[in-house]
Amino acid sequence: MSPTARNSLNVLSPKERMKVPRQAMPEQAAEIRAHNFEEVNLGYSTELAQQEARRCLECAKPVCTDNCPVGVKVKEFVELIVAGDFLGAAAKIREDNVLPAVTGRVCPQEDHCEGNCLLSKKVKPLGIGYLERFVADYEQRMGNHVLPRVQATGKKVAIVGSGPSGLTVAGDLIQKGHKVRVFEALHELGGVLVYGIPEFRLPKQIIRQQLDYMREMGVEFETDVVVGRTVTIDELMKEEGYDAVYIGTGAGLPQFMGIPGEHLNGVYSANEFLTRINLMKAYKFPVYDEPMLDLHGKSVAVIGGGNTALDAIRSALRLGAGKAYVIYRRSDAEMPARAEEVHHARQEGIDFQMLTAPVEFLSDGKGWLTAARCVRMELGEPDASGRRRPVPKAGSEFDLPLSVAVIAIGTSANPIVQSTTPGLGTNKRGYIEASEQTQRTTRKGVFAGGDIVTGSATVILAMGAGRRAAKSIHEYLTTGEW
């Protein structure tokens, strides 16, 4: 792509580019989508994509790339869209990101590339996520992958967990010629992308396509292996001949609040609720065997303000919930969920009970949930997280009738790998200790990244850790130096 060609295609001056409005993402109407699991966002057409791409200011120093955890060359791929070379754009993204169709959908771009877009100083930022999704989907439709051919190095790497972080490591290392095998505990590949994120935000077909692509590149997968139980890290290295191991086991054990009534029937962790729906297809019961409680006409609440909370409550709505609440103890400003998801959820009719926290779950006396006793909060001084601490308001207690409550307040470290790998250092909270630059753990040849190192974070941050790990695993395998 020569500068001349580019200039001839994007003839708009910077001022003119700023006058082009950000192209809206076509989406399913809220009143329709609230009753189905089809994707909410429908994707840009070619015209919309090119129109949006022309808004790029082509900064000399693209801060978008600097702020991308995996370093996608935004300016370059957007230029290729303007030029009409969509497959070229896809290939450009793939140099840095093995899951563009996924990140194009679920990455919080507002915190990374788009949040730093120069356009956003005056107008709305470039729709980088929407453009990424467009090229990834275009590439998929064309089925025109350019598979890299590389010389085999003879080195073997085991990857523990097939979530976004593990897949990133696998994708990067296979392109360096290493033999890569990914071990997954569940029966389906994709980790949180399949058990956690619902169909309406990330269709499972997208993940299957990305996995097929990785298989074509030569990545091997083995499901039904719980590393730490089925085989240990030491056995993988000593007996199965792996030269390096990457641990990307992800978000761990769901946290509960420790309030009375959490054991009642009808109280779920978000992980269980979403796993039943996304992985086990309980909403297709009895065609699928895994059951879940019937939500038709029922009052359902999720406790928490993150993306997982919104995924859970929007799923409940789609399963027929008559009332769907988000109970969050702080205010809108502190909500960790993506703005787009909150907006979508409000459009769909989710009732947000802000500055509210449950203090007890009440039962019918036979073990079934009937209500959450809640208290209203007000915000006090900032706490350790820098967010203002919610403080209960005296005398504000009230009972919210509920059939189902879903607790989405985060996770703590899963101990299985750590407890079965001698010498693997962990921090106070039980997460694996790993260098922020190299993702090396305290064990030679063992690397770790993603939520099992940082605690719950995002898909893109896990992928960023995967990129750094792949780079340092490659260095280690090449030099043998630790």
Partner: protein, 288 residues
């Protein structure tokens, strides 16, 4: 796919399968279990490992038909395959030389108690085993339990075999006879484990029970298997399945295990209907 090498009924409705699962066979320890899924639309259910053969690369599982999945499983035979088998899951039994250990197996729980009894025997304990069942036909693994026990007692609820009564009657006899008991291990129906724990609590005898809550992933991720231990949540799949019986809230376990009863019944009815020879399959994907 995990191939079934051999399958045989141990009792009406209780079937033992020998399954090719080399990785699991190598690692299995007493007290652990597997989770399996028979086919694509199937649910994941935890199942007892009765034994394993690391050299042949096989595990033995024992299944009692109760709902749709277990009935379907029990219709499989040698040569058939199970889509997914994952494990061994859960923490292994704590095996040490305690002295005298009473191992209690109730019904199909005997299959879970057996490898623990065998390991305790190998560790030098005096193993006194009590096997209980509803009736003669449902007494399983008698020969196996006898082989690893210094003494074996059997009870049937209806007296159709051995002594009429419950396992707790035998345990009480042992206590009343002044037998020194250093540990009790009880695996079986919740009511049985609860009764055992209540009996031993008064006698200050350490008691381990193996819990069987509803589970999905079995790795700690979903939290569905949470049980109440000393008033706090613990996960049976990563913290258990064995717990100190005196700290377990059995009422909560019974209540949580009933969570999907309506759906389970519906599944079972549909399953039975589909089995009728002239039935034309017409699942409609309706909600429970």
């Amino acid at each position: 796919m995990f191939k079934i090498i051999h399958a045989e009924f141990l009792a009406p409705g209780i079937k033992r399968f020998v399954i090719e699962a080399p990785r699991i066979a190598r690692k299995q320890q007493p007290g652990q279990f597997v989770i399996l899924r028979i086919y694509e639309e199937g649910e994941r259910i935890p199942v007892t490992i009765e034994n394993s053969d690391p050299e042949r690369g096989t595990i033995n599982i024992v299944v009692q038909a109760a709902g749709k999945t277990t009935n379907l499983l029990n219709s499989l035979n040698a040569g058939d395959s199970i889509l997914d088998v994952v494990g061994p899951l859960g923490r292994p039994s704590e095996i040490a030389n305690y002295g005298t250990v009473v191992v209690i197996g109730g019904g199909v729980g005997t299959a879970m108690a057996y490898p623990t009894a065998a390991a305790l025997k190998r560790a030098g304990n005096r193993v006194v085993s009590i096997v209980g069942a509803r009736n003669k036909e449902l007494v399983i693994l008698e020969k196996e339990m006898r082989a690893v026990s210094d003494a074996l007692m059997i009870t049937t609820d209806d007296g159709s075999y051995a002594d009429k009564g419950f396992v707790t009657d035998k345990l009480l006899q042992l206590i009343q006879n002044g037998t020194r008991i250093d540990l009790v291990v009880a695996v079986g129906p919740i009511v049985m484990m609860k009764a055992v724990a209540e009996l031993t609590r008064k006698e200050y005898i350490r008691t381990v029970v193996s819990l069987n809550p509803i589970m999905i992933d079995g790795t700690g991720m979903c939290g569905g298997c949470r049980v109440m231990i000393d008033g706090k949540s613990e996960f049976a799949c990563v913290d258990g399945p064995e717990f100190d019986g005196h700290r377990v809230n059995f009422e909560v376990l019974v209540q949580r295990n009933a969570m999907y009863r309506t759906a389970e019944q519906k599944s079972m009815e549909e399953f039975k209907r589909n089995r009728e020879p002239d039935h034309v399959c017409q699942s409609q994907g309706v909600q429970p």
